[in-house]
C-alpha cells in the first residue's frame, strides 16, 4: 500500500494521480531488466520533465513546505475540473462598490446584496469593512475572502498602531493587503476599494485579486462597476462638497443596483474626513418590500403523522464491580 503514498521526487500524489500518470507511461523492458530496483522506472524520451521519477521515498511521511500556501492541490483541482467534476460553489458578492475623493476626504459606497449563483443569499450584507478608525475598505469577490483579508489586515494595523503610537496610514493598509494577495497569486478572490484620510491627506486605492493596485480620485469595482463608472465619468468633478459627493455616490450605486443582477437591495455609505468618520448604514433603501399581506399568512393543513417509531440509542448498561476500590 506504499504505492498509495509514493513520493515522486518531492511531491506526494494520491493513488488516483499515480494511476493517471502510470496510464500515460510506456514500460521500457530493457531498463527494467538492468535496474536493480524493480520500481525504478526510467523516463521515456517523449515524457516531459514534469515527472521527476526519483527514488522511492524512504518514508510515507510528508513534511509540509515551510510556511505559505501549498499549491499542490490546485493542480489536482484543475485536473478534476477537466475530468468533469463540478467545483463547489461559494458565496460571491456580485457587487457594486465605489469610492471617491471629495473636498474634505473620502466617500465610500456599496450595495448590500450577496449572491450564491443565481440566488440572493443575503439581502442586507455589509460590504464596507473597518480597517482603522480613519480607514475603511469595500470588498467585492468572494465574501469569505474579503472579510478574512480585511479582518487580518485590520488586526495587523492595530498592532502597528500600538507599536508606533501613530495613526495608521492608508498606504500601509494598501501595502499589507497587496502583499498578502500577491503571495496567494489571485487565489484569494478579493477585489477591494480602500479609502481613508491620514496625516498625508485623503487617499483612495483599488486592489485587484492578483495584487496590483491603482490610486485614483474615483473608483468602482465589482460586477456593477461599469454601470457605476458611467455615472462617475459623466458627473465627477474635483472639489465636490460632502452633500454633492454623497449624492453622486448614491447615484452610482443605484445605477449598479438597478442595472446589474449581482447588485441590489440598499446603499451603504461611509464618509471619512480628517479626524472623523460617518458610517451611514442603509443610507438609501430603494428596494423596499412593497406588498405584505395585512391578514398575515396561515397554513391550514397541519403536518400529518403517518407512523411513529422510537429507537433507543443507548442499550441498557450493566455494572459489575470488579477489583479493589482505589486507595485514597
Amino acid at each position: 500500500m506504499d504505492l498509495l503514498k509514493v513520493n515522486w521526487g518531492r511531491r506526494k500524489h494520491s493513488l488516483f494521480y499515480y494511476l493517471f500518470l502510470a496510464s500515460k507511461q510506456l514500460f521500457p523492458l530493457d531498463l527494467y531488466l538492468f535496474s536493480p530496483n524493480p520500481f525504478r522506472f526510467d523516463q521515456p524520451s517523449s515524457s516531459s520533465r514534469l515527472f521527476d521519477f526519483g527514488r522511492m521515498s524512504q518514508s510515507g511521511v510528508d513534511v509540509p513546505a515551510k510556511g505559505g500556501f501549498s499549491f499542490d492541490l490546485c493542480k489536482r483541482n484543475d485536473m478534476l475540473i477537466q475530468k468533469g467534476l463540478k467545483a463547489p460553489s461559494f458565496l460571491k458578492t456580485g457587487t457594486t462598490i465605489v469610492g471617491l475623493i471629495f473636498k474634505d476626504g473620502v466617500i465610500l459606497g456599496a450595495d448590500t446584496r450577496a449572491t450564491e449563483g443565481p440566488i440572493v443569499a443575503d439581502k442586507n450584507c455589509e460590504k464596507i469593512h473597518y480597517m482603522a478608525p480613519n480607514i475603511y475598505c469595500c470588498g467585492a469577490g468572494t465574501a469569505a475572502d474579503t472579510e478574512a483579508v480585511t479582518d487580518m489586515v485590520s488586526s495587523q494595523l492595530r498592532l502597528h498602531r500600538y507599536q508606533t503610537g501613530r495613526d495608521s496610514r492608508v498606504i500601509t493598509a494598501l501595502t499589507l493587503l497587496k502583499k498578502h494577495l500577491f503571495s496567494y497569486q489571485g487565489h484569494v478572490s478579493a477585489a477591494l476599494v480602500l479609502g481613508g484620510v491620514d496625516i498625508t491627506g485623503p487617499h483612495l486605492h483599488t486592489i485587484y485579486p492578483h495584487g496590483s493596485t491603482d490610486t485614483l480620485p474615483f473608483a468602482t469595482m465589482g460586477s456593477g462597476s461599469l454601470a457605476a463608472m458611467s455615472v462617475f465619468e459623466a458627473k465627477y468633478k474635483e472639489g465636490l462638497t460632502r452633500d454633492e459627493g454623497i449624492k453622486l455616490v448614491a447615484e452610482a450605486i443605484c445605477s449598479g443596483i438597478f442595472n446589474d443582477l449581482g447588485s441590489g437591495s440598499n446603499v451603504d455609505i461611509c464618509v471619512i474626513t480628517k479626524g472623523n468618520k460617518e458610517y451611514l448604514r442603509n443610507y438609501m433603501e430603494p428596494n423596499p418590500r412593497t406588498y405584505v399581506s395585512s391578514k398575515g399568512y396561515s397554513f391550514t393543513k397541519k403536518t400529518e403523522v403517518l407512523r411513529t417509531k422510537i429507537t433507543p440509542l443507548m442499550e441498557r448498561v450493566e455494572i459489575t464491580e470488579v477489583g479493589e476500590a482505589m486507595e485514597e
Binding site: 479582518d151 487580518m152 488586526s155 492595530r158 498592532l159 500600538y162 507599536q163
Partner: protein
C-alpha cells in the same frame, strides 16, 4: 532555541528547592524604580517613578506605562528592554484572542498568557528569565482589576501593590491608606503620596508617570499638565 551546547536550561533547581536565577531576577526587580498600583471601586490607577539617568535625556520620549489593549495598561519595575519585549508579545496575544473570539480579551486571560510567556523563559534552553515584574491594570466586564506578574510567571490579583526600590515602605503606606470604597481620584492622590514617600528629590510631573482607567474602560496615560493638577491638589 539556542546552540546545542546551551540546550540545557540555565534556570536549574538548587539543593534547597529554589530557582536561584529567579531569585536573582527578583533582586533585579527590587533594584528597579518604584512603581505601584491601586484598585479603586470604579477604576484602577498605576504609577511609576521616571528617573532618567541624566538631565540630557529627552523625557518625552520615555514612556514607562504602556497600553496592551484599549482597556488594559501595564507598568513595570526592573529592566526596560525586557519590558519592551513582553509588551510586544502581550499585544500580539491580545490581538490574536480578539481575532479568534471577536471579543476584547479579558484581563485575567491576558495576564495568564503573559505569565505563561514569562514561565517559558524559566524552563527553556539557553535563555534567562525576564528581569521585570509587571503591574497590569484593566477594566472589563468583571470590573476593575489589578494584577502583578513576577519573573517566575506567577501572578496575583491585588487591591493595591508596589514593587521596586521602595517596596516595603510603599506597601506599608498603602496598607494604612487603602480603603475598600476608594474612588478613582482618591486612589490617584494616594498613589502620588505613596510615590512621594520614598522619592529622592523634588516630585514633579516630569519625573513620575501615572496611568488610569475608569468606568469608561479606556486606559489613559495622564499628560504632564494633568499630573501637575493632581500634584497641586495633594499639596
Amino acid at each position: 532555541m539556542g546552540d546545542s551546547q546551551y540546550s540545557f536550561s540555565l534556570t536549574t533547581f538548587s539543593p534547597s528547592g529554589k530557582l536561584v536565577q529567579i531569585e536573582h531576577a527578583l533582586t533585579a526587580v527590587g533594584s528597579g524604580q518604584t512603581s505601584l498600583g491601586i484598585k479603586a471601586s470604579n477604576g484602577v490607577v498605576i504609577a511609576t517613578e521616571k528617573k532618567l539617568p541624566s538631565i540630557l535625556v529627552d523625557e518625552e520620549s520615555v514612556q514607562k506605562i504602556q497600553h496592551l489593549t484599549p482597556n488594559i495598561g501595564v507598568v513595570y519595575s526592573g529592566m526596560g528592554p525586557d519590558f519592551r519585549v513582553l509588551v510586544r508579545k502581550s499585544r500580539k496575544q491580545a490581538e490574536q484572542y480578539n481575532r479568534l473570539y471577536k471579543e476584547p480579551i479579558p484581563v485575567t486571560q491576558l495576564v495568564r498568557e503573559t505569565a505563561t510567556v514569562m514561565q517559558e523563559f524559566t524552563q527553556s534552553g539557553g535563555v534567562r528569565p525576564f528581569g521585570v515584574s509587571l503591574l497590569v491594570a484593566g477594566y472589563d466586564d468583571k470590573g476593575p482589576q489589578l494584577y502583578q506578574v513576577d519573573p517566575s510567571g506567577s501572578y496575583f490579583s491585588w487591591k493595591a501593590s508596589a514593587m521596586g526600590k521602595n517596596v516595603s515602605n510603599a506597601k506599608t503606606f498603602l496598607e494604612k491608606r487603602y480603603t475598600e470604597d476608594m474612588e478613582l481620584d482618591d486612589a490617584i492622590h494616594t498613589a502620588i503620596l505613596t510615590l512621594k514617600e520614598g522619592f529622592e528629590g523634588e516630585i514633579s510631573s516630569k519625573n513620575i508617570e501615572i496611568g488610569k482607567i475608569g468606568a469608561d474602560k479606556i486606559f489613559r496615560v495622564l499628560t504632564p499638565a494633568e499630573i501637575d493638577d493632581y500634584l497641586a491638589e495633594v499639596e
